[in-house]
Amino acid sequence: MSPDVLLLIEDELDHVDVIVRALRKAGVEAEILVARDGQEAIEMLGLDLADHEPAAPMLPRAIFLDLKMPRVDGWEVLQRVRASRRTAAVPVVVLSASDRPQDIQRSYALGANSFLLKRFDPRGPGTYLAEAAHYWLELNQPPASAAEKFHWRLPAH
């Protein structure tokens, strides 16, 4: 069994470093792959070609997704992920500095599983993200197998 993969999609290197450090420090063992913008993430997930998916694409156990990124933004990535049957069931945690209600609502409408506000955690840099990673990677059971069995259908948005 291949190790779990966490796909972190984040353009800010500062944030990437803090998050990776926090996860490692918290003992998250999953492999952490980083996409530096939406386009890169789509390519890594094999969602860049319509109607053609790679034979053995990477399928992460969870995705941490920044919203504001160059080229392709987080919402578009979210839409693509949910549009593909293969990745539709992957938990997506949105990370954003904006707490605008419309941003939060849109994220959930597009199929986000969680919306985390980027903030400074007085307990330690990125501690809340390590907790989130722990939850989504280890505690939460994704409906991946169920998706295959029951032909998982997307909720309308």
């Binding site: 800010e12 500062d14 944030h15 803090v18 450090r21 504001k68 954003s96 500095a97 904006s98 707490d99 605008r100 980027k118 903030r119 400074f120 330690g124 840099p125 990125g126």
Partner: protein, 547 residues
């Protein structure tokens, strides 16, 4: 039509024309009718007169020719008439009425023989000497009174054998009497012979105006004698033939002309009134046009104004959405690096603690403090922006309950218990529940903050109606402020106390002011150092129109 004419004349020329034309036409028709009738009458009269004369002539000729026949018979032999002459003469007088006597006057005296018509016996016979004077040529003599008193004439015809003259007396009384018919009915006839009236029948009309109707004709009787025969209408005939219809027509024409003139005059008046009305209409129309033009100008101006307002509103909305985009940008872009600074300070402290010199940790702490303050200011700004932009959902607010709730929350948020709330029942207001709750939260937070450390801490809230609004007051017995700087209280980031003494971003009261102003209310504050502060704000009365 000349404008020089007096106005009065202008309305009279057409009636005058109509009247003249009408009257002239009536007159023409009348005169033509009269003329035609006169011609017809005259023609008929001439015909009648001619026939009448012919009838008279025929009667005369009958006497003459009968006598001539006799004269011829008596003259056929060279001797005096036979003794039967009286028989012949009597037969003649019987056949041809009118003879009074027939006589043969011998050239020799004493041989004259006279036969009298029946009933005329004893009358005088011819004047023998006169008769003998006509022995060579036939003659007619008269008129004269006959034996019976009637008018008549004498005929003298020489007898061809030269022995004498045939004389006869003829009465004219039968000339105009036709046994079967009147040759000129309705006419008075008079016959004149050499200035003497021979015979007259009927009474002619005595009207010189009808003289034209008199028909005079000459009747050559015989032997050079000429009678003048005059036919004149009797009054009955004139009356029956000359009806008054042409005159009635003339009168009618006159009346019609007058009526036409009257109508024309009325029409002229009506036209004048119509012209005046049209002129008035035109003037009115011009005024209406002017009015509508100025109304159009007004409308254009107001449309222009509305257009400008709409344009300004669009610009403003554009600016607002730009501001919103800016806020979003700030929230994302500014918050991220600040958060990163804090994170790296924390990483430095955790991972490299042992490598920091003694003062290094303190420097890091100050970096963290400044960064945190920057973040707090940013949050305050965003909160202010949200309060400014949030849509107002107006409703009637139970301010007493709202105040109690907000106070409890503020106390819990600050973790303080030793503060008393002195709350009077408050009049309800009209406002946005969430935003007014923000106002109260900020005011109570301030009251708690600036009364910290004081004894018998107490926050009093009261409210009273003033005109269309309710003024609420939130008073504390904290440190107060210098009234000289009361105006600066509600500015963004304005502070009257050092940050070391009282924490805060300086956004809270600015937000209070912004929210109250958005409700159409006012905010102000009263206070003095160490004597507490009282913040006032006003809101519209409850019961206004629903939002």
């Amino acid at each position: 039509m000349s404008t020089l004419l007096p106005d009065r004349w202008r309305t009279l020329w057409l009636p005058a024309l109509v009247f003249s034309l009408g009257f002239a036409t009536a007159l023409g028709v009348w005169s033509r009718l009269i003329t035609e009738r006169r011609e017809q009458v005259l023609h008929s009269a001439r015909t009648v007169a001619a026939e009448s004369r012919a009838a008279i002539d025929a009667k005369l000729k009958r006497h003459i020719s009968a006598l001539e026949d006799l004269a011829e018979a008596w003259g056929r032999f060279d001797r005096d008439p036979l003794p039967e002459w009286a028989e012949e003469a009597n037969r003649l007088m019987q056949n041809v009425p009118g003879f009074r006597y027939v006589a043969w006057v011998s050239n020799e005296a004493g041989r004259t023989r006279v036969a009298h018509a029946a009933g005329q016996e004893g009358g005088h016979g011819p004047d023998e000497s006169v008769a003998r004077a006509h022995a060579t040529a036939p003659a007619i003599a008269g008129p004269g009174r006959l034996d019976d008193g009637s008018f008549g004439y004498d005929l003298y015809l020489p007898v061809a054998n030269g022995r004498g003259v045939l004389a006869a007396g003829v009465s004219v009384s039968g000339l105009l009497l036709h046994p079967l018919q009147d040759s000129a009915p309705g006419y008075a006839i008079s016959i004149d012979w050499g200035g003497r009236e021979v015979l007259a029948r009927g009474q002619p009309v005595r009207d010189v105006a009808l003289d034209w109707w008199r028909v005079e004709g000459e009747l050559p009787v015989a032997f050079g004698a000429v009678w003048r025969v005059v036919h004149a209408p009797t009054p009955e005939l004139a009356h029956s033939m000359l009806s008054n219809s042409p005159h009635l027509l003339l009168a009618g024409g006159l009346l019609l002309s007058a009526a036409g003139a009257l109508i024309a005059h009325q029409l002229q008046l009506a036209r004048r009134h119509a012209r005046e009305l049209a002129a008035a209409n035109q003037a009115l129309g011009a005024r209406v046009r002017e009015e509508s033009e100025s109304a159009a100008v007004l409308r254009r101006l107001s449309e222009e104004l509305e257009r400008r307002v709409a344009a300004r509103t669009r610009e403003l909305e554009g600016a607002m959405s730009e501001l919103e985009a800016f806020n979003y940008s700030v929230s994302h872009d500014l918050r991220s690096p600040l958060g990163a600074i804090l994170n790296f300070v924390a990483i430095l402290e955790e991972d490299h603690q042992q490598r920091l010199e003694h003062g290094g940790a303190e420097v890091l702490a100050r970096i963290r403090g400044s960064t945190e303050r920057a973040l707090a200011l940013l949050e305050g700004l965003l909160e202010l922006s949200r309060a400014s932009r949030a849509k107002l959902e107006l409703e009637d607010l139970d301010m007493t309950a709202l105040v109690r709730e907000a106070f409890v929350q503020a106390r819990v948020a600050r973790g303080e218990r030793d503060v008393e709330l002195a709350l009077e029942p408050l009049p309800p207001a009209r406002g946005d529940r969430a935003l007014i709750a923000d106002v109260l939260a900020n005011l109570f937070d301030n009251a708690l903050k600036y009364s910290r450390g004081c004894e018998k801490r107490r926050v009093g809230v009261s409210g009273r109606g003033e005109g269309a609004e309710i003024v609420y007051a939130v008073a504390d017995n904290g440190v107060g402020f210098d009234a000289r700087f009361a105006g600066k209280l509600f500015g963004v980031f304005e502070r009257l106390h050092p940050r070391e003494q009282f924490e805060g971003t300086g956004v809270g009261l600015a937000m209070v002011a912004r929210i109250v102003h958005r409700h159409g209310g006012r905010v102000w504050a009263e206070g003095a150092p160490q004597q507490g502060a009282c913040f006032f704000f006003s809101l519209p009365r409850a019961g206004g129109a629903a939002s």
